[in-house]
């Protein structure tokens, strides 16, 4: 049975079951968070490092969790920050203001063969997503793959629902255009 936030927080409140609460939380949310990060960074090893980083932050911050949102949304927010920071660092590494090099790096990993067991159209979809600006890609992912309502996305990304709808609409249009090329 999937433990609810209330059950986990109740367990966490007891010093003797704090670690058990965290273990159950990891077990509950690790796949969602891993895939969220993996689609952003493409490479498994990078995703693995980042998802561990996220859960270490969760462990260190759970005692100050303010219950203003669900735990999962809070973890998504941490994952988003960790991932964007990672992509920012990559950009700095290439010493450029453009994300093109970062995208090229991600595309290289996508085509390396070790990361994707996809057919041609799926490969094109991933390429189209990599071409989106990172924040727009986050919006696209949360809506398209995680099927998150705009209200929840607004809580995760701390952006108005209107702005998110517009961003998603633009992202979908761009992805569709990319898919049509050579289709």
């Amino acid at each position: 049975m999937v433990p609810s936030d209330e059950e986990l927080l109740s367990l966490y409140a007891q010093p003797t079951s704090r670690e058990l609460a965290f273990t159950r939380l990891v077990r509950r949310d690790q796949k969602k968070i891993y895939w969220f990060i993996r689609r952003m960074v493409i490479d498994h090893d990078d995703a693995n490092d980042l998802v561990q980083d996220v859960f270490i932050k969760v462990w260190n911050g759970l005692s100050s969790f303010r219950k203003e949102s669900s735990i999962t949304h809070w973890i998504y927010r941490i994952a988003m920050n960790v991932t964007l920071t990672f992509l920012e660092r990559k950009k700095k590494k290439y010493d450029t203001v453009s994300l093109d090099e970062v995208s090229a790096d991600l595309l290289g990993k996508l085509h390396s063969g070790k990361n994707l067991g996809a057919d041609r159209i799926e490969m094109k979809l991933q390429e189209a997503m990599i071409a989106l600006p990172p924040k727009q890609r986050l919006v696209f992912q949360l809506r398209y793959y995680d099927e998150m309502p705009y209200e929840e996305m607004s809580a995760v990304l701390e952006t108005s629902e209107g702005a998110l709808k517009a961003s998603y609409h633009h992202a979908v249009k761009k992805v569709e255009e990319y898919l049509k090329q050579g289709a």
Binding site: E19, T23, Q30, F55, K114, I121, E176, L179
Partner: protein, 181 residues
């Protein structure tokens, strides 16, 4: 469910090609990765695996090793496959039948002995009587000892301790065992 329909409708209207694609995950991950991930996070946060086994929740105080239920069906199938057909279900072991039969036999003998004894002996119900009956049923005292026991005068000259001494000597069983019966 409504949200999923909203998202699908939204996509169909704006991006028919994208909406026709399956959302299956195209990425590959190493086998057993999520179990390893959980372990890596535990190590990174300093949480010991044993803690989960020690911790108890109010609704279920008994814990099982991590991954136990995930692996259980495969273990059962594997074990079932290695068994010979027929004769595989045995709910009570043979030795338990033997113990149960012995206990039943002792009870039947005890009841029959109690029923056959004179009314005054049954009425007395002294501890030495009980010891005698138990010894008789458990070890099978010789007839001569039984006769001698009943001939002893319970009321005046013979005390319980004297009868105990007699039984110990006659049965060959030590005093501690008799007292524990």
């Amino acid at each position: 469910m409504d949200e999923r329909k909203n998202i699908t409708d939204e996509l169909k209207a704006t991006a028919p090609l994208l909406s026709s694609l399956s959302k299956k995950n195209p990425f590959v991950i190493p086998e057993g990765y999520f179990n390893e991930l959980e372990e890596s996070i535990r190590v990174a946060t300093g949480i010991e695996p044993a803690k989960e086994l020690q911790a108890k929740s109010p609704e279920n105080p008994l814990m099982v090793p991590p991954g136990y239920f995930e692996n259980l069906p495969a273990v059962i199938v594997q074990k079932a496959g290695s068994r010979k057909p027929g004769g595989m279900i045995r709910t009570i072991k043979k030795r338990w039948w033997a113990i149960a039969a012995s206990v039943a036999a002792i009870l039947i003998i005890s009841i029959s002995v109690l029923r056959d004894r004179p009314a005054e002996t049954l009425a007395s119900g002294t501890p030495i009587d009980t010891t005698f009956l138990l010894l008789e049923n458990a070890s099978g005292l010789p007839d001569a000892v039984v006769v001698e026991f009943y001939d002893m005068d319970n009321s005046s000259s013979s005390s319980d301790s004297l009868q105990h001494e007699y039984l110990i000597e006659a049965s060959g069983i030590d005093a501690e065992t008799i007292l524990s019966l």
